[in-house]
Point group: C2
Chain length 238, copies 2
DNA sequence: CTTTATTCCGTACGATGTACGAGAATAGGG
DNA sequence: CCCTATTCTCGTACATCGTACGGAATAAAG
């Protein structure tokens, strides 16, 4: 399902990118598939981080020449958009939609969190401007259905969904850096020593107290559920 | 105030980076200053985006050779950390701290939002792991002081601050992409046509309804204040 | 067959981060 | 005052990146 981009406007044209049937029945038959390329890129990003995804490595992974990728995506940024929508396909299958919209919304948010933890490059990728692909739109449709009982108007529903997603992305980004940093003990120790030194300078009494009486550490899951509850239970209280 | 990194552990050593008095009184006098280099990088990032900040351009801006920068920061990632803490200096001056901790927390969040809008590269930079520098710690100290009346333990206070920051970062990242996208009308039109086409396929009834009855658009400021209120007013309800 | 459209990909270019090491400048010890 | 250790400066060089270009290969249309 190769690609052809008109030089109309700068960047990605959503109609050209997402609304393409299977027209081209002339010329050489494609040796690869967009799906396969995207899947390879996603696998690499999941395993080694998004910065490990280079056009050369993806091409090598699928057994193509580097420049062949450009028949399937006009540039790397577009490939990233395709990756985002590709993994969003994992979200579309969950459809129960119980009775209470607050519960449904929490379920959706927990789904998003699990999804982003599975693909740690997602939070950063979501903060860049993107045009929603079919899988993303399917999930949006689901979320809008969950919001139907609220009686909010269109703009408000979209805003709730966007804010919820932004909240989850922000939380997961923080959660990921925490757990990643915790995996190098010497780094943790160095940071602890550094903070202790700062707290000992007398100009950070609150920090000193926090460090001396930390309290019980909280699990990321519990913290997420707690703050999510704050956010959602407060909704619709206009 | 040049720099010297011991090859101890991988990455950035906070003690080496932040706890450096002004020891070296031997050898050639520095021709530039860390402050000046960071300020130049920040100015460039604010004006042209973080991807416009390259070692070559920063060096040219301050009148140095490229490799001279490496006497002031061991690598580009560290320079980014320095930039983050540098701009955090703008936050430390705001100290009133009124009576109600919820109000104080909202003030802090609004400060953070304005700060991130002034430096649009901040939300993305914050989602990467960093060691808090002196300015960041000063602001944290302020936030912890605001949280004192809550009686939360240390870990909980840190968690509230982290979640609040993550929320603001997520919101601002979304807000920035919205306003940036709105500045290219043809892109907006193309996306509208695309969404209309998707909505017309009959499989996205909720989306179709949202597009047909959008309601009044909300200002980013109002949306932020609303969701922030939800989040903070719900706190401490344990 | 010729034409036209499409994919494949080797080569090449400009840009980037930064390793290396030679030179220049400064301070302390004799 | 020179010597030596130390520190900063920066030209050169290299690996790696995204991708422009163009020709060869392939397949359908005329």
């Amino acid at each position: 399902m190769p690609h052809d981009e008109r030089p109309g406007a700068a960047g990605v044209d959503p109609e050209q990118l997402w609304l393409r049937p299977t027209e081209p029945r002339r010329g050489r038959r494609p040796s690869f598939s967009r799906e396969g390329i995207i899947a390879a890129a996603v696998t690499m990003a999941d395993a080694e981080g998004i910065e490990a995804v280079t056009m050369r490595r993806v091409a090598a992974q699928v057994g193509a020449g580097v420049m062949s990728l450009y028949s399937y995506a006009p540039d790397k940024e577009t490939l990233l958009e395709l990756m985002v929508d590709h993994v969003s396909g994992e979200l579309t299958v969950t459809d129960p939609l119980g009775g209470d919209w607050r519960t449904d919304l929490k379920t959706i948010a927990h789904l998003q969190r699990a999804h982003m933890l599975r693909h740690p490059w997602l939070p950063a990728a979501l903060s860049t401007r993107r045009v929603p692909g079919p899988n993303t739109l399917a999930f949006l449709e689901h979320a809008l259905a969950a919001l139907r009982p609220t009686g909010l108007d269109g703009a408000a529903k979209l805003e709730v969904f966007a804010q919820l997603t932004a909240f989850v992305a922000g939380h997961v980004a923080h959660e990921i850096t925490q757990t990643e940093a915790a995996r190098s003990p010497d780094r943790v120790a160095a940071e602890a020593r550094y903070l202790a030194a700062v707290a000992a300078d007398g100009r950070h009494p609150e920090l000193a107290e926090v460090l001396s009486a930390p309290g019980r550490p909280l699990t990321a899951e519990a913290t997420f559920a707690r703050f999510l509850g704050r956010l959602i239970d407060g909704l619709d209280a206009d």
